[in-house]
């Protein structure tokens, strides 16, 4: 693929599962875990997510690198929440008070985020993006949103290439960015040209699609089929989710 989709290239049982089943599982997991707020279900969820990641045999190093980027945002929360959340005082740094509740909250948030990210990586990133779009479509997401999703993905790279080409064209005519009006104006022209060119390109691609009979719905060559392993997987998955959130059912239901 244009953007590296290396995660989708494996051939484990996770990769072979029906895309709709995987998407549904990821969705259920994300919703249930995001409303959970106790240590046991969240920690168990993290373990389930890790187990799936390992079964999908994804390159651990690259996965961790991706998690690192997401955890940079979480890190910001660690800086502010322990000081701003009211509760039992754990330590004092000058006038600032670190609360026990604040720390615990950050800890749970970190587990929660990573568990959901790991599930998304091991279930939804293990299929090509076009297939993901099709799976979304068959689970009832409207055509327009799916098309928007697929085409954004498909053409982000084309826009980047165009940007590089324009920048090179500027550079070979001796352009060096400086802090002056000429630089600002040139960059503004670059961005403007990029928007105009992308728009024109989109029109031409759309025209070409219309000429080949496109009427708003994308079809695909992959045929989905629910197999026995899909049934077993989704059953065990839902069972696990139910067991780990057992104590929270009253909260979830009411």
């Amino acid at each position: 693929m244009i953007i590296n989709e290396s995660f989708s290239e494996g051939n484990t049982f996770i990769h072979r599962l029906d895309p709709r089943v995987k998407l549904l599982a990821a969705l259920l997991f994300s919703v249930v875990i995001s409303v959970s707020s106790r240590f046991f279900p969240l920690f168990s969820a993290l373990i389930i997510a890790f187990a799936l990641l390992i079964s999908a045999r994804l390159p651990v190093k690259i996965v961790l690198l991706r998690l690192l980027f997401a955890n940079l945002f979480i890190f910001l929360l660690w800086i502010f929440i322990p000081f701003s959340m009211k509760g039992e005082t754990l330590a004092k740094i000058g006038p600032l008070i670190i609360s026990k509740e604040g720390l615990y909250y950050c800890f749970l948030l970190t587990i929660k985020t990573n568990a959901i990210l790991l599930i998304l990586i091991s279930l939804t990133a293990t299929m090509p993006v076009f297939t993901l779009g099709r799976a979304m479509n068959s689970l009832g997401i409207p055509d327009k949103i799916v098309n928007l999703f697929i085409f954004s993905y498909r053409y982000i790279h084309a826009i980047l290439l165009e940007y590089k080409r324009l920048k090179e064209a500027m550079a070979i005519r001796g352009f060096h960015p400086k802090t002056n009006m000429h630089t600002y104006r040139s960059y503004a022209y670059l961005v403007g040209m990029l928007i105009v060119k992308s728009h024109d390109r989109a029109e031409r691609v759309h025209s070409a699609m219309i000429c080949r009979g496109f009427r708003g719905k994308l079809y695909d060559l992959t045929e989905f089929s629910i197999k026995r392993t899909d049934f077993i997987f989704i059953s065990i998955f839902i069972l696990c989710l139910m067991v780990i959130t057992l104590k929270q059912w009253p909260i979830l239901i009411f």
Binding site: M1, H157, A208, R212, G213, T222
Partner: protein, 246 residues
């Protein structure tokens, strides 16, 4: 000739841009069944606009357009036309948008309502007829210019069109790929209109050649001696030659 033999008929078609720029002016053109028309003309003479009008991508300012015996008035009139007329775009990058070659070639047949299995079969057949076996899983984005053009042609041919409109199919291609395209066009029996600057290519692939200047079709006036060392029709219209003689 019986009316049923006329596939595409343009009567006094004009197209002006909103700023008043005249691209097509009172243009008459008729494509009969089995006919191969060539169109040569300088950049900006309205050739591409002509194709866009025929496909219903642009609405002519005035004039009458008839395709397969039906008057084209509303946008929806063109929906069945697009299933039967194939347009090869000038820029292959505009035509190819699927991740893999097979997906892209199958796009048209799937839109025609074919099942995935049928679409796959048709696509494979077309690809192998163009000498593109083994290209199925190649990434469209990473193909070379010539390969892109051939795959684009495959995406159009996969819809089994009755009429082919080719917009500068050989621009920027090397001699070998150009020869390949000539070979493909000679081997299929489809009525077509071909736009090209390349006089040798257009003479090999079409029967009648028209010149186009400033939105108007020039009549075929026969051989016209001009400043090359050779003579052929439309010598007065700017054009190039490629060395494709075998």
């Amino acid at each position: 000739m019986a009316d049923t033999d006329i596939l595409i008929n343009l009567e006094k078609i004009s197209f002006f841009f909103p700023d008043g720029k005249r691209v097509l002016e009172d243009l008459d053109l008729c494509l009969n069944k089995g006919e191969r028309l060539g169109l040569i003309g300088p950049n900006g003479s309205g050739k591409t606009t002509l194709f866009r009008v025929i496909m219903g991508l642009l609405k002519p300012t005035s004039g009458k357009l008839t395709i397969f015996g039906r008057d084209m008035i509303h946008k929806k009139d063109f929906t069945p036309v697009r299933q039967r007329v194939g347009l090869l775009f000038q820029d292959a990058d505009d035509q190819l948008f699927n991740p893999t070659v097979l997906d892209d070639v199958a796009f048209g047949p799937l839109n025609q309502g074919k099942s995935p299995a049928e679409a796959k079969k048709i696509s494979r057949e077309i690809l192998s007829s163009l000498g593109l076996e083994g290209f199925e899983d190649r990434i469209t984005y990473k193909l070379s210019g010539g390969e892109k053009k051939l795959v684009s042609l495959a995406t159009v041919l996969a819809m089994k069109p009755e009429v082919l409109l080719l917009d500068e199919p050989t621009t920027g291609l090397d001699v070998d790929t150009t020869k390949k395209i000539i070979h493909v066009l000679e081997s299929i029996d489809v009525s077509s209109i071909i736009i090209s600057h390349d006089m040798d290519f257009i003479q090999r692939t079409t029967g009648t050649i028209y010149g186009m200047v400033k939105g108007k079709i020039l009549p075929d006036k026969g051989e016209y001696a001009h400043s090359h060392v050779h003579a052929h029709g439309h010598g007065e219209v700017p054009h190039t030659h490629s060395d494709i003689s075998d």
